[in-house]
Amino acid sequence: MHRLQWEEVQQKDIILYPEGMVELNQSSAEILKLCDGTRSLDQIVSELELKFATTGLKNDITAFLEIALKNGWIQQN
């Protein structure tokens, strides 16, 4: 129902859904792109910590995923 895509004009990733859209900042987009049904939360956290050479992202990522879940951008199995 939701589609994530890169918008060239806006230079942003956006989520599209019936009657609406949300512009994502870079970190939100990076998280959502890893939500492909194959990775666990811990895997997502460690991949992003590795990618951005940092630690302690778990709380921020969890908080964002809760918002994403509530809005129906992702589903939990």
Partner: protein, 376 residues
Amino acid sequence: MAGFNKIKITPPRWLLAELTYACPLQCPYCSNPVDYAKYQAELSTEDWKRVLSQARKMGAVQLGFSGGEPLTRKDLTELVKHARDLGYYSNLITSGYGLTEEKIIRLKDAGLDHIQISIQASTQELNDHIAGTTSFRHKKEVAHLIKKHGYPMVLCVVIHRENIHQMPQILDMAENLNADYLELANTQYYGWAHANRDLLLPTKEQFEEAEQTAQAFKEKVAGKMKIYYVVPDFYEDRPKACMNGWGTTFLTIAPDGVALPCHSARDLPGLDCPSVNEYSIEEIWNDSKAFNFFRGYEWMKEPCRSCDEKEKDFGGCRCQAYLLTGDMYNADPVCSKSLDHSVVQQAIESAKISATLSATEKPLIFRNSKNSRNMV
């Protein structure tokens, strides 16, 4: 307008493609112009493809195929395919009339993202009366097929005095049809709805009761169904932020190729709305008189000009200001700060009086070509 060169122009995001004014339904609140019958010309397939490509390049991404009834266009599937190739998120805004399972599958294969289907009431009798067409059963079948084939479905019900008492049954119907989104659109009084306002505008008590019912339902179905509630602005103190600001977000292309900052703008005088037959979308969006007319705040009169809420609601709707006060530069009279606010009160009173008349004393004017020619 004076000073428009200073205004930063944002790219269009939403494109409403009104493919045709032809429609098998006759809803008396239709948002098409009352004189639509005089606009017979329709853009060709190639014209529409060019428009879609140019608007996409400008930044438009949400696309509504609308009308009239867009299914009457033979090239709909081809246009849907073109839109998908360009990266639009496309929506078919339909009455469901003429939609078969075969077409639903074909449109899905072409890349249509979702479907918005309208139902006029919760009972066959009232639906078919309002639509002016026997269509209730077919609409419900179509709704099932839309879900069967995996589309997100928006169910749209326009609310007015004839059906507002059915709110609980309308909500049940939405649930039974498994709608993903329910748009409860209180009638906005433009076009045909303006002509029929005395017969369509509910009382404040009716609104409040219906709104409470809808609100309770919204909580009940949270997480399963999303409700879009289009507010009845005649009973608000402040106007709507119409079109998210003139020429900031929305672009409508009428069936004959005229580009409009909102779908009612062709009724406003002196805008010289440009045609896609003569100009590119880029020229239209950035440079045309019509799209720059109400950009920014320089055009405003008092009380809007010095109002501390002008950046929130942009003075409300220009079409409503023009329809109700005769001057499109005025504040939207829905606003309690408007010097013309009494016209809204008068409209409410007038509708109350009409509620006591019988259907033969004051009949609804249905939206059809014969009535359209007579309205000019």
